[in-house]
Symmetry: C2
Subunit: 285 residues, 2 copies
């Protein structure tokens, strides 16, 4: 039985003590938690978390992001409905929504008497990256206090409805959400294993040499851990893979299949995203 | 004179000692550094940094990212040329390139005998976010050891040329780079101030109520600090703003202007990005 309390012990990586600082231990111990206590996040923690979020790098200091901190129960309940009916958004005392924000830059252009000339894919990308960097600092800061977090990608299910709920102006869209709070005491399941380092990390150039072996090893790990037990995705009219063999490779390939084939799986059912983000004021040219 | 060693002291935020942990101090102390010593990054640090990177959250556990760790001097030199001729990529002992990677997912689909059905904007976005989350953990892990970092967005200047240099297959593009190493001893200038919290952080719904005041205050801070001294962007045929008034608002509005107007400023000169990313195998529909 591996020690899943963090990824270093899970993978049997033994580092000299001087390399095991609080930050590394926090990050390698990350896991998503599904159930929260209602206990609020203390104000000084919130302040430090937000200051950490704002300290993330931002491309050319454009600061093309906004963070919406939501603790109003009614707002959380409506957002939960819009984001895949996820009750944990209601339960978590704090729900952060990280937005790509080019509205502020458009305001600046107007304020300075110029024409905003950045309706481009690059600007969409830059703002999305800025929001994501701020989100990761938020997650790490929260977990440094022993708080639990859960990233919520499904705020992208209905971008316009989310925008309406949060008064997001034209030029702002929700990239991702993050639940923050104290988890229920029985909630830690241990760090979820990742693909072996040699599959996702490459030296000097991209290589697929050990990929197949890495995927096999990973599937074995996930089967041993029972990660997909009871979570098998099935295709109507197709014989399902035996539960013994079903793991990351099959699960992931199904999640990346045509949603019409597997019955509109939400992950890839975001077919309207392009149209909705066009309407939110982003360009992809 | 404010204490710019981290954002908490810079903004006069005083937290009870128990909230000042190593992780918060690391993140609020982030600054980009421009000059590096050639001293290599010790192997145990690199291991911990990579393990932290791989511990970032990933949407639906798709792990749609790859990290290329580059220490080969010749490769770094060629990448530096392609990424805005930035010498710091040559100087830094380690250059990480964070890639959105749907190539691995396409391989999985094929391996499992399915058709990859995720040529969508959502998949482009998901993979970009995955790569960005891994990048931010890398940055924080490196800085937790006192290493310096510099994010490099200009790997997006020539996506296909970068891909060729790094053997990136179809379905992989470089979102951002990160220089890592020990900075030259005279290189710390202090944390760069950010917009006030009330401008970028909103409670329960988006608000622009205090934005204008926040931008004015920020401009004052940046003028006092001399951040834009000697860095003024000028528009041919237009009288430049007096150096005394030139700060974030004007600088940023210029950077977001039509690049043809201000002479092809690189930030927004990435006019070919869409075409190049189409060629790299990403979809925006």
């Amino acid at each position: 039985m591996s020690d899943d309390s963090n990824r270093l012990t899970q993978e049997g990586i033994s580092l000299p003590d001087e390399y095991l600082n609080h930050t590394i231990i926090t990050m390698t111990g990350h896991e998503s938690v599904r159930r929260f206590e209602s206990t609020p996040v203390p104000e000084p923690m919130l302040k430090a978390i937000l200051t950490s979020a704002r300290s993330a790098p931002t491309s050319s200091n454009l600061q093309a992001f906004s963070i919406i901190v939501i603790d109003d129960p009614a707002t959380k309940a409506r957002l939960a409905k819009l984001a895949g009916d996820q009750g944990l958004i209601v339960d978590a005392p704090c729900f952060f929504v990280f937005c790509a924000d080019i509205h502020r830059l458009q305001y600046l252009a107007e304020r300075q008497g110029r024409e905003f000339g950045a309706h481009t894919l690059e600007m969409f990308l830059l703002a999305t990256v800025d929001a994501t960097l701020a989100m990761q600092n938020t997650l790490v800061a929260a977990e440094s206090y022993g708080l639990a977090t859960t990233p919520i990608g499904s705020v992208r299910d209905y971008p316009n409805a989310i925008a309406e709920e949060l008064d997001l102006p034209h030029g702002v869209y929700a990239v991702a959400g993050l639940c923050i709070g104290y988890e229920k005491s029985d909630e830690r399941r241990g760090t979820k294993p990742r693909l072996p380092e040699h599959v996702t990390v490459h030296r000097n150039r991209y290589s697929t040499e050990t990929r197949e072996q890495g995927i096999r090893d990973y599937d074995t790990t996930m089967i041993d851990r029972g990660t997909y037990r009871g979570r098998q995705v099935t295709v109507p009219g197709e014989t399902a893979m035996s539960e013994r063999d079903y793991a990351w490779a099959e699960h992931t390939s199904l999640r990346c299949s045509d949603p019409d084939v597997i019955g509109g799986h939400p992950l890839l059912g975001r077919r309207d995203l392009r149209r909705e983000l066009d309407e939110r004021g982003f360009s992809f040219d």
